[in-house]
């Protein structure tokens, strides 16, 4: 007897999908129903109702209802109440299903079995679907579905939503007519919630013991050995610091050769264009604007990739949660949890994912403190600026066996972190002292060698992002800046350099008054404005401004020697320190506005950081001047 396809759901067999949150139920539902889904609402609540149509192996249609993820049937939350209601036939929105499929994450068996025990106690007709079996096998273990079925007394099959054939076993199972004609749950004398839970726990325990699954996995020997040292407060901290040192040394030492290549290519391009095109505006735009500007930023790609390489390796190896654990006591002292370390570390790349990752922090005060200090943890866009200035002003010497430039870079990052710590500490004193800095409860996955393929993909993605930025906003801003720096055109016979006559030049000179106390000249003032949109643009802006300031045929001279010749050491240092604190780019401010739902936080952040940057640059410049470096 073939069933007709009946979307109204009246004559169909009805299957409900139940399971813990994050057990892969949704992927399974999607795999079963494909595009035949409808989403609605349960009456009176904001819980989603998803219904779809699937075909069994024999081709019969079955209505599938995806219930909200729940840990138990105790109706503690709205989700649980809805799921419980539907399964027991109390729901107003949905008739009781004929069969319930409990999706159990095989790596979290006990938790799933508690739910199965509850259904069993309530005599709900069910089958059990074992999900995530691929993960279990990857751990070198196995769960015998057949044996589990004998222990539980209900059918158990493997299922997974990530492969097409993953639902085959279920589709076959559903052709078994005996499953569909079981008695519906009878009403029972209610036990107290506590007794119910204890009964379910005991039942799950009994099943696990009977199936021989009560033994926890043996410890991962290497992880324990490494943790014995890496989590030891003294050794662990030393290792952490040593790792950080290594990273910053590598950023300079390893990048030299590829950077040289890019510089040569840029210079050659500029020379070729200059030789090919007759003199004029177009040539100036291409050579002084685009090549000098964009090329100036492009050259830092190797350093960014090296930094990211280390971040990725640390992430993939499983080391980061250990660092979070080590730092927890310290962070707790300033009012944060060690958990906040990982969003903050993301800020090393870009503050935006870090700010959004802070959503997982439940405590309001901790969350907004984390968001506030995220921009102080150096974002990767600062790196070209740092690298340019360090390259120009810090000699490439060795100090005590360590590369001085790498040391200074490390010092800048350390300064950013220390200031973040200081701000967090102040915030803790100010805020309503809740005492709760948010829980730690940090999972420590086993250490494993990072997979080269994953690292390569991560680096490739990073490179693409960087190139997209360069080819997009940086290029556009550089063109605009060039235009502002070239028009109005200086009349012939003008005594100063042409750029001083232009609109940008005039703005720069006007702003220079504001920045004079901290040692910034007008070129820097001009470059800071487009730098608000993206920090790297400061480098390209300086490249363009200085290229336009040159007279004669010195095309393709690299930027670093030019500024080294033009600025004093004090100015260079002052600008470096400015960038440690400078307000973050507009994109970050926009995200903060969106996340906080108002203007107060982003505006106060920008104002605060501007003031901090100015003060720090001021102190640096005056100190350096006093030392005779001005």
């Amino acid at each position: 007897m073939s069933a007709t396809v009946d979307i109204s759901g009246l004559a169909q067999r009805r299957l409900a999908l139940l399971g813990n949150p994050n057990c892969g139920k949704t992927a399974l539902f999607n795999r079963l129903t494909g595009s035949q889904q409808k989403v609605g609402n349960y009456a009176g609540v904001t819980v989603e109702l998803k219904r779809g149509l699937m075909k069994t192996a024999a081709g019969r249609s079955v209505t599938v209802i995806d219930l909200p993820g729940t840990y138990s049937l105790n109706a503690g939350s709205q989700d649980e109440a809805v799921a419980c209601g539907v399964v027991l036939g109390h729901s107003l929105s949905e008739r009781a299903p004929d069969l319930t499929a409990v999706v159990v994450d095989a790596t979290r068996l006990r938790r799933g079995l508690r739910l199965v025990a509850a259904l069993r106690r309530l005599q709900v007709p069910m089958v059990v679907l074992l999900n995530m079996m691929d993960r279990v096998r990857a751990q070198g273990r196995s769960v015998d579905a057949a044996q589990l079925a004998r222990t539980l007394g209900v059918p158990v099959v493997e299922a997974t939503g990530i492969r097409p054939e993953g639902t085959d076993a279920l589709r076959q199972l559903l052709d078994d007519d005996t499953l569909w004609h079981q008695p519906h749950p009878a009403s029972q004398t209610p036990l107290s919630v506590e007794s119910q839970t204890r009964a379910d726990d005991a039942q799950a325990q009994a099943w696990l013991a009977a199936a021989g699954l009560d033994q926890p996995m043996k410890e991962h020997a290497w992880s324990r050995r490494l943790d014995a040292w890496l989590l030891q407060p003294l050794v662990g901290t030393v290792v952490l610091l040593a790792l950080l040192f290594l990273v910053f040394q590598a950023v300079f030492a390893w990048a030299e050769w590829p950077m040289g290549l890019i510089e040569d290519a840029t210079a050659a391009t500029g020379e070729w264009i200059a030789a090919t095109l007759p003199e004029g505006l177009l040539r100036s735009l291409l050579v002084d604007g685009i090549v000098a500007g964009v090329g100036g930023v492009l050259v830092f790609l190797p350093q960014i990739l090296i930094l990211f390489f280390f971040i990725l390796v640390l992430e993939e190896s499983g080391y980061l949660p250990r660092a979070a654990l080590l730092l927890d006591r310290l962070m707790h002292a300033i009012g944060l949890s060690g958990r906040a370390f990982i969003p903050l570390l993301s800020s090393f790349a870009c503050a935006i994912p870090g700010i959004m990752a802070a959503r997982t922090i439940s405590d309001r005060h901790t969350r907004w403190t984390t968001v506030f200090i995220a921009p102080l943890m150096t974002c990767s866009a600062r790196l070209p600026v740092y690298a340019l200035l360090i390259g120009a002003f810090i000699p490439a010497r060795k100090v005590g066996g360590l590369n001085l430039q790498g040391l200074v870079l490390f010092g800048l990052y350390a300064l950013g972190i220390l200031s973040a710590v200081a701000v967090a500490w102040v915030a803790k004193q100010w805020g309503r002292a809740r005492g709760q800095a948010g829980p730690l409860m940090m999972e420590l996955p086993d250490y494993h060698w990072p997979r080269a393929k994953d690292i390569a993909i991560g680096l490739w993605q990073r490179a693409l992002i960087f190139l997209r930025n360069v080819g997009g906003i940086i290029l556009a801003l550089t063109v605009i800046l060039w235009a502002l720096s070239s028009f109005p055109v200086a009349p012939p016979g003008y005594s100063g350099s042409a750029i001083a006559y232009s609109l940008a030049g005039r703005i720069g000179h006007a702003l220079a008054v504001l920045f004079e106390p901290i040692g910034f000249n007008w070129q820097i003032a001009v470059a800071l404005i487009p730098g608000l949109a993206a920090r790297e643009v400061v480098v390209s802006a300086l490249g363009t401004v200085y290229a336009l300031s040159q007279t004669g045929d010195e095309v393709g001279t690299a930027l670093a020697p030019m500024i080294a010749a033009d600025w004093s050491l004090a100015t260079g240092l002052s600008l470096l320190i400015w960038f440690v604190f400078a307000p973050q780019c507009l994109a970050t401010l926009a995200v903060v506005r969106k996340e906080s739902g108002g203007w107060v936080l982003p505006v106060s952040m920008a104002a605060f950081l501007f003031g901090l940057a100015y003060a720090a640059a001021f102190i640096t410049y005056r100190l350096a001047a006093a030392l005779g470096w001005a």
């Binding site: 505006l281 735009l285 870009c350 992002i465 801003l477 994109a587």
Partner: protein, 48 residues
């Protein structure tokens, strides 16, 4: 058209294109589209 005018036109075209790009970006952000960091993965992987 002489060389200078030709160059001027080319330059203006490029500048206008750049300005248009920036304006469009700013307008998109006003509308609430994501920040142009170009990496939707980074944030989606980490939210809530």
């Amino acid at each position: 058209m002489d060389n200078d005018t030709l160059q001027l036109i080319a330059v203006l075209a490029i500048v206008v294109a750049a300005a248009g790009y920036l304006l469009r970006r700013a307008w998109r952000r006003q509308q609430g589209r994501g920040p142009a960091c170009g990496n939707c993965n980074a944030c989606q992987g980490k939210s809530g």
